[in-house]
Symmetry: C2
Subunit: 342 residues, 2 copies
C-alpha cells in the first residue's frame, strides 16, 4: 500500500507543463488549449493522480466541510434529518464531518472545538445539550444552525424547527372532534415540563378548546417506551380514566398502548392514543399509530441551505424557520366509549 502519492508536480512533469497549468485543467478552466488539457488529463490518469483537498483547503481558506453535532443517532427523528442534510450537502458540494457528544455537555463542547480546529465551513447542531454560551461563541467563528432545539434563540444563530404548539393543537383538536374530553398528556421527564413546548402546547390547546378543567399531565420519558408505560399506568391508577392520551412521542405512545393492553383496555375502543414524530415505529402496521408528523427531511434540507447562505454571504442576519407539522391519522384514535355523538 501507499507508494508515495502523486502530486500536482508529478503530473506537471509528466505532461511537460507547469503546475499552474495542471491546476487550471483540474479545476476545469476554459482558458487552456485543448492539446495541453488532454496531455494533462492523460498524465493525471496514468499516474492515478487525486487532488489533495487538504492542500486546497489550506490555500482556499475553506474546506467545503460542514460539521455536524448529533446528540442521538438512535432517535429515528435524526436519521431522516441527516438524510435531508446529506441530500442538500451533495447538491451544494459539501461533506459532513460527524461529531457526537452523547448528550454530555463537556463532551459536546470538546467535539465542537475539534470541529472548529478542522476549519469546518459551518456547524449544524442537532438538539445539542451544549450551553448556549458555547454555541454563541462558535457562531462568532463560523455560521451555526441549530435544528430542533426546544428553547431560546441564540444571537447570530440560525434555527430550523417544528411548531410543537401547532402539532399538539392538531392532536387535541382531532381528539375533540372525535368527542373526547378527558384528554391526558404523557410528558417527558418532570423537570423539563416548564420548557417543553409540547407540554405547553397541550395545555394551551386544551384551554383554547374549553377543556382546561380536564387537563391532566403525567411524567413519562422521551427515550424509552417504559416511560410511556408507567405514565399510562399512573393515569389508570388514580382519578377518572382519560378516554384519550397524547404522548410526547411515538415511543411513549407505544409504551402507553402496552400498559392499556395489560390493563385490559382496548385501543382505540376504550382509549385513543396519539403519538408524536410519525416515526417508523408509528407506521408499522401492527401498531399503526396516529401521530403528529414533522417534515424531518425538509428540516435537514433547510438547515444545510441555511448554512450555505451564510457561507456564501448571501444572508447576514440570523434566520428562523419553523415548519408546520401535520397529523397522520391511523388506527389508534376513534370516538370515546359511550360517545355522546355530535
Amino acid at each position: 500500500m501507499n507508494r508515495q502519492r502523486p502530486t500536482i508536480n508529478d503530473v506537471a512533469a509528466r505532461a511537460g507543463v507547469s503546475k499552474s497549468l495542471v491546476s487550471l485543467v483540474i479545476r476545469g478552466s476554459p482558458n487552456v488549449s485543448a492539446a495541453r488539457r488532454d496531455a494533462v488529463r492523460q498524465a493525471a490518469a496514468e499516474l492515478g493522480y487525486r487532488p489533495n483537498a487538504v492542500a486546497r483547503s489550506l490555500v482556499e481558506q475553506r474546506t467545503h466541510i460542514v460539521g455536524l453535532l448529533v446528540s442521538d443517532l438512535h432517535n429515528p427523528f435524526f436519521a431522516e434529518v441527516i438524510d435531508g442534510l446529506q441530500d442538500e450537502a451533495r447538491r451544494l458540494g459539501y461533506r459532513m464531518l460527524l461529531g457526537s457528544g452523547n448528550r454530555v455537555p463537556a463532551e459536546e463542547e470538546e467535539t465542537v472545538e475539534a470541529l472548529l480546529q478542522l476549519r469546518i465551513d459551518a456547524l449544524i447542531l442537532l438538539s445539542p445539550a451544549l450551553p448556549p454560551a458555547i454555541v454563541r461563541q462558535a457562531a462568532q467563528t463560523v455560521p451555526v444552525t441549530v435544528v430542533g432545539h426546544r428553547g431560546t434563540r441564540i444571537p447570530g444563530v440560525d434555527t430550523v424547527g417544528s411548531d410543537d404548539a401547532l402539532g399538539t393543537a392538531l392532536a387535541v383538536e382531532h381528539l375533540v372532534a372525535l368527542g373526547h374530553r378527558r384528554i391526558a398528556h404523557i410528558a417527558g421527564a418532570r423537570r423539563r415540563w416548564g420548557a417543553d413546548p409540547r407540554c405547553r402546547g397541550y395545555e394551551a390547546a386544551m384551554e383554547r378548546v374549553g377543556l382546561a378543567a380536564f387537563r391532566r399531565i403525567v411524567e413519562g420519558d422521551y427515550t424509552t417506551d417504559e416511560g410511556g408505560y408507567e405514565g399510562m399506568a399512573r393515569l389508570l391508577a388514580s382519578g377518572p380514566r382519560p378516554t384519550a392520551v397524547l404522548a410526547v412521542n411515538d415511543l411513549a405512545a407505544v409504551g402507553a398502548i402496552a400498559a392499556l393492553d395489560d390493563h385490559g383496555h382496548r385501543v382505540p375502543e376504550d382509549v385513543s392514543v396519539v403519538g408524536y414524530d410519525n416515526s417508523a415505529l408509528a407506521a408499522v402496521r401492527h401498531l399503526s399509530l396516529t401521530s403528529v408528523n414533522q417534515s424531518r427531511w425538509e428540516m435537514g434540507r433547510l438547515a444545510m441551505a441555511a448554512v450555505h447562505d451564510r457561507i456564501e454571504g448571501t444572508r447576514r442576519r440570523a434566520g428562523h424557520r419553523v415548519l408546520a407539522p401535520d397529523l397522520v391519522v391511523r388506527n389508534t384514535t376513534g370516538p370515546p366509549p359511550a360517545c355522546p355523538g355530535p
Copy 2:
C-alpha cells in the same frame, strides 16, 4: 464574524518567541521552560488562537479523520454500529467524515472518491452497495474495513461481521426445542436468496436438525414491514400452516405478526415468530419480539480498532472478525399448538 483568525505567527509575536516554540507548547512538548510555556499559553488565550488542523494535516500527511460510508441511516442496525465507531474514534483520537450513497453504486463511488481526496486516514464501509473492484482499489490507498457485508471477501480489506449461520441456527434450535417442526422462513427479496447467509443458514440449520423436509421459504423484504406481512400472508394462503416463522429481520417479523393478527392467529399460541437484529423495535414492550441479537456496538468498535491498527502499521495482513450472535427470547415464541410434548 470572522475577523482574520490568529495563526501560530500571531501567537509567537505576542509571546515574543519563535513559532516553533509555540508549536512545541501547543503539542505539549516537555522540553520547554515553564516561563515560555506560560507566555505562549497566555498569548494564545488572549488571541483566541485555535490550531489549524488543515495545515497540520498537510504537513503531517495524515488527517486523523476516518471516512465512513453509510448505506442507510434509517436502519437502526447502523445507528448502534456508528455509536461503537464514535466511542472508539473518540478514544483513539479520530474524527469521522460521513458520506452516503443511498445504495446507488455510482453515488457511493463518487462519495468514496471525494473522501479519498480529502485524505482520510482510513475508510469504513457499512454494508456498501459498491462494486468490489472499487473497494479493492480504495484499499490500495488507505486501510479499508467493511462492516456487515454479506458476501465475498476482498483482498486487502478487513471485515467485521456477524455469524448469520450461527444466528439462524440459534433461532431454529430454540424453536425445535419448543417442539416446532413446520418452521418457515420469510426471506429478503427473491433474487438475493442465493447469496443471503441468513437464508442459507436457515436451510442448513433445518437440515442439521433433521427437518429438511419441512423447510419452506417465502419472499419478504428487508426494508418494510409490508414485505413480512405479505410473506406471512403467502404462507397462510397455501400449504400446511407453519407453527413458527423465522423472519429475515425484526421489521419483517413485525409485519408477519400483523398478518397473523389479521388472519385471527395468535402469537405465540398459534404461531411463534422470531426476528433478527434485536433492534429497538423488538424490545418495545408491546411487541416483545424474540430476536437474534448482534453486538452492533462491538462491531463498530472493532471496525474502528481495525483501521487504527492498519493506520499505525501494527498489522499488515487483512483481518476478519466474525462475532457470535445470541438469541434474546421474549414473548413471541412458545410451544406449538397441540404440542406433542418432549
